[in-house]
C-alpha cells in the first residue's frame, strides 16, 4: 500500500502511521523483504548500548545500562548473614527484577508484570550457573558470618530485550561493587570500619585498608533474537516483540562457552541451522558488550 497521491506530506505521514497501527505485521514484513528493520537497522545488528557505573551513590555497587531505549538500573546492597550448615564458607546472592509502572503502559500498579518474575528467575539461574562469582569470596568468618549481596534491578523503560539489558546491568554492577571493610566486634557482630575508630581487622580479611573488589571470572553476556518465518531479528524492540512471538535467548560467557539457551515456545520451530545462526550473532554481540563493559570500567578508574 503506497500513499501514491501527491497531497501534503502530513497526510501521507498519517497514512503510514495508521498503516503501522492497523497492520503492524505487514508493515514490518515489508521492511524485512528489503533486509532492513523499521528503525533502519540490519537484521542482525543490535541497538546502541551504553553503560554508566556508579549511578546510585548510596549503594555498594550500581550500574545503569541502556540498550536503545530499554533502560535498566542495577544496584547492590551488602548485608551480613549466617552461612548455611552445608556451605559454611560461602556467601549468597539474592537477585530480584522489578518492573515499576513507569517503565511501560502495560504495567499497572498493584499487578506485577508477568515478565518480571520470569526474568527474575532467568537472571538468577544465569548468573549463578555461569560461575561468574565465586561465593567463597563472600565469606567473612567461616561458619559464622558471610556476605549476602542483594541485587535489585529496576526496569526504567521497557522497550524490548529486557533480559539482555538486565543481565548487562547486573554484570556491570558486580564489576563496580566495592565490598566495605568490616571487622568483628566484641558482641560477635560484624560492623563497618569507619575512619574515626580503630578496631581489630578480621584475620581472614586482607590487610589492606582499601575496599575490596570481587573477582569476576568469565562474565556472561546475552543476545535475544526474534524468529519470524526465515528471518532472525537480533535485539528486538517492544513493538517487534509484540507482533512476532518466537524468542530465542543465547547467553555466552567471555570465553565463548555457552551458558544458557532459552526458547520459550512460539509458533516458529528452531532448526539446528537457526540455532547456530543465533549463536553466531550472540558471539559477535558478546564481543561488543565486553568492550562496552571494559570501557565503562576503565572510565571509572580514570575518575
Amino acid at each position: 500500500m503506497a500513499a501514491a497521491n501527491g497531497s501534503s506530506e502530513l497526510y501521507s505521514e498519517m497514512e503510514v502511521d495508521a498503516f503501522r497501527r492497523l497492520f503492524p505485521l505487514r508493515y514490518h514484513e515489508q521492511h524485512l523483504l528489503k533486509s532492513v528493520r523499521t528503525d533502519a537497522r540490519k537484521l542482525g545488528s543490535a541497538r546502541d548500548t551504553t553503560l554508566a557505573l556508579g549511578a546510585v551513590a548510596s549503594a555498594d555497587g550500581s550500574a545503569l545500562a541502556k540498550i536503545g531505549s530499554t533502560t535498566m538500573l542495577a544496584a547492590i546492597k551488602m548485608e551480613v548473614m549466617t552461612p548455611t550448615v552445608e556451605c559454611p564458607d560461602e556467601g549468597s546472592i539474592a537477585i530480584e527484577f522489578h518492573m515499576p509502572p513507569i517503565c511501560s503502559p502495560l504495567v499497572r500498579p498493584g499487578r506485577p508484570a508477568e515478565a518480571a518474575s520470569v526474568i527474575s528467575k532467568q537472571l538468577s539461574d544465569t548468573i549463578l550457573s555461569s560461575g561468574m562469582i565465586d561465593l567463597k569470596e563472600l565469606c567473612l568468618v567461616g561458619g559464622k558470618a558471610a556476605w549476602m549481596a542483594y541485587l535489585d534491578i529496576y526496569c526504567l523503560d521497557a522497550d524490548g530485550s529486557l533480559f539482555d539489558a538486565a543481565l548487562l546491568s547486573a554484570v556491570a554492577a558486580f564489576s563496580h561493587l566495592n565490598i566495605p571493610v568490616v571487622s568483628l566486634n566484641e558482641d560477635g557482630r560484624i560492623v563497618l570500619v569507619s575512619e574515626d575508630n580503630v578496631q581489630l581487622k578480621l584475620e581472614k580479611q586482607p590487610v589492606n585498608s582499601e575496599k575490596r573488589k570481587l573477582k569476576l571470572k568469565s562474565p556472561p553476556f546475552s543476545l535475544t533474537c526474534l524468529l519470524h518465518k526465515n528471518y532472525i531479528l537480533a535485539d528486538p524492540t517492544a513493538e517487534e516483540e509484540s507482533i512476532m512471538e518466537t524468542v530465542v535467548t543465547v547467553v555466552l560467557d567471555s570465553s565463548y562457552q555457552l551458558v544458557s539457551l532459552y526458547k520459550p515456545g512460539g509458533p516458529v520451530l528452531a532448526h539446528t541451522s537457526v540455532i547456530q545462526d543465533c549463536v553466531a550473532l550472540a558471539r559477535r554481540r558478546m564481543k561488543e558488550l565486553h568492550s562496552v563493559l571494559n570501557e565503562a570500567i576503565s572510565d571509572m578508574e580514570v575518575d
Binding site: 551513590a57 548510596s58 548485608e79 551480613v80 522489578h98 513507569i102 503502559p105 535489585d152 521497557a158 563497618l192
Partner: protein
C-alpha cells in the same frame, strides 16, 4: 534500594547504629555541600526520559534522583453504567520512582511530575513547583538533605503555581512558631518561583532543540 525476600535467611546491615541522633550544636551546623542555609541545591531537569511513556521527566537535585512518567489520557475502567448519551471517561496515570533518596524527596517528585505532565501535553492551569524547608533550632534550611531532615525540629513543604501565585499544597509538621512559619513560607515561595523559571527554560530548550 535493597529488598528482602521471605525465603532468604535473616540478614543485617553492618553499618554502625544508624540512628545515634547525636545532637551537634545547631549553631555549628554547616551544610555538608557548602551551601548557604537559604540556597537550594543545583537542579538538573530533563524531559523525555522514558520512551514508552506519553510524557516523562528526570530530576536530579544533589543526590536525590527521581523519574516520573505519565501515561494517558487512557481508557478508564470506572463508568460501566448504561447511559443514553455518549460518554468518554479518561484517566491520566502519573507514576514516580525515587532512584536515590538524598533528602527532600517529595518536593522533587512533585516538581518532576509537573514537567512530565507538561511533556505529555496534558492541559494544565500552570506548572507547579515544590520546595521544602527544615527548621534546625533557630535556623531555617531550605531544600534539606537527608541528614538535615533527620535532625530537624519541624519541616514545611509548599507546592505552588508560580505564574498564578497560588499555593496548591502546604504540609507542616513538627514544632513551629507563627513568625517562623511566615518566614518559612516566604522562603519557599521565593524558591518556588525561581524553580518555576528553571522548569520553564527546561521545557523551552526541548522545543528549540527540536526546531534546530
Amino acid at each position: 534500594m535493597a529488598s528482602k525476600t521471605g525465603s532468604t535467611p535473616a540478614t543485617y546491615s553492618p553499618s554502625p547504629a544508624t540512628h545515634k541522633k547525636k545532637r551537634i550544636p545547631i549553631a555549628d551546623w554547616v551544610c555538608p555541600d557548602n551551601r548557604g542555609f537559604y540556597q537550594c541545591r543545583p537542579a538538573y531537569l530533563r524531559t523525555g526520559a522514558v520512551s514508552t511513556a506519553a510524557g516523562s521527566a528526570y530530576a536530579e537535585f544533589g543526590n536525590t534522583k527521581v523519574i516520573v512518567s505519565v501515561f494517558g489520557p487512557r481508557e478508564s475502567k470506572k463508568a460501566m453504567m448504561y447511559s443514553d448519551t455518549g460518554r468518554l471517561n479518561c484517566d491520566v496515570d502519573v507514576f514516580a520512582v525515587v532512584l536515590e533518596s538524598g533528602g527532600s524527596d517529595l518536593p522533587v517528585v512533585i516538581s518532576c511530575a509537573s514537567l512530565a505532565l507538561a511533556d505529555a501535553g496534558i492541559l494544565l492551569y500552570d506548572l507547579f513547583a515544590s520546595v521544602s524547608v527544615s527548621c534546625l533550632g533557630k535556623d531555617l534550611v531550605i531544600d534539606p538533605i537527608s541528614e538535615e531532615e533527620s535532625y530537624n525540629d519541624g519541616s514545611l513543604m509548599i507546592t505552588c503555581m508560580p505564574s498564578r501565585n497560588q499555593v496548591t499544597q502546604l504540609i507542616v509538621d513538627g514544632e513551629w512558631s507563627t513568625p517562623k512559619i511566615h518566614d518559612a513560607m516566604e522562603l519557599c515561595l521565593g524558591a518556588c518561583s525561581k524553580l518555576g523559571k528553571v522548569m520553564r527554560s527546561c521545557l523551552k530548550d526541548v522545543v528549540t532543540d527540536l526546531k534546530e
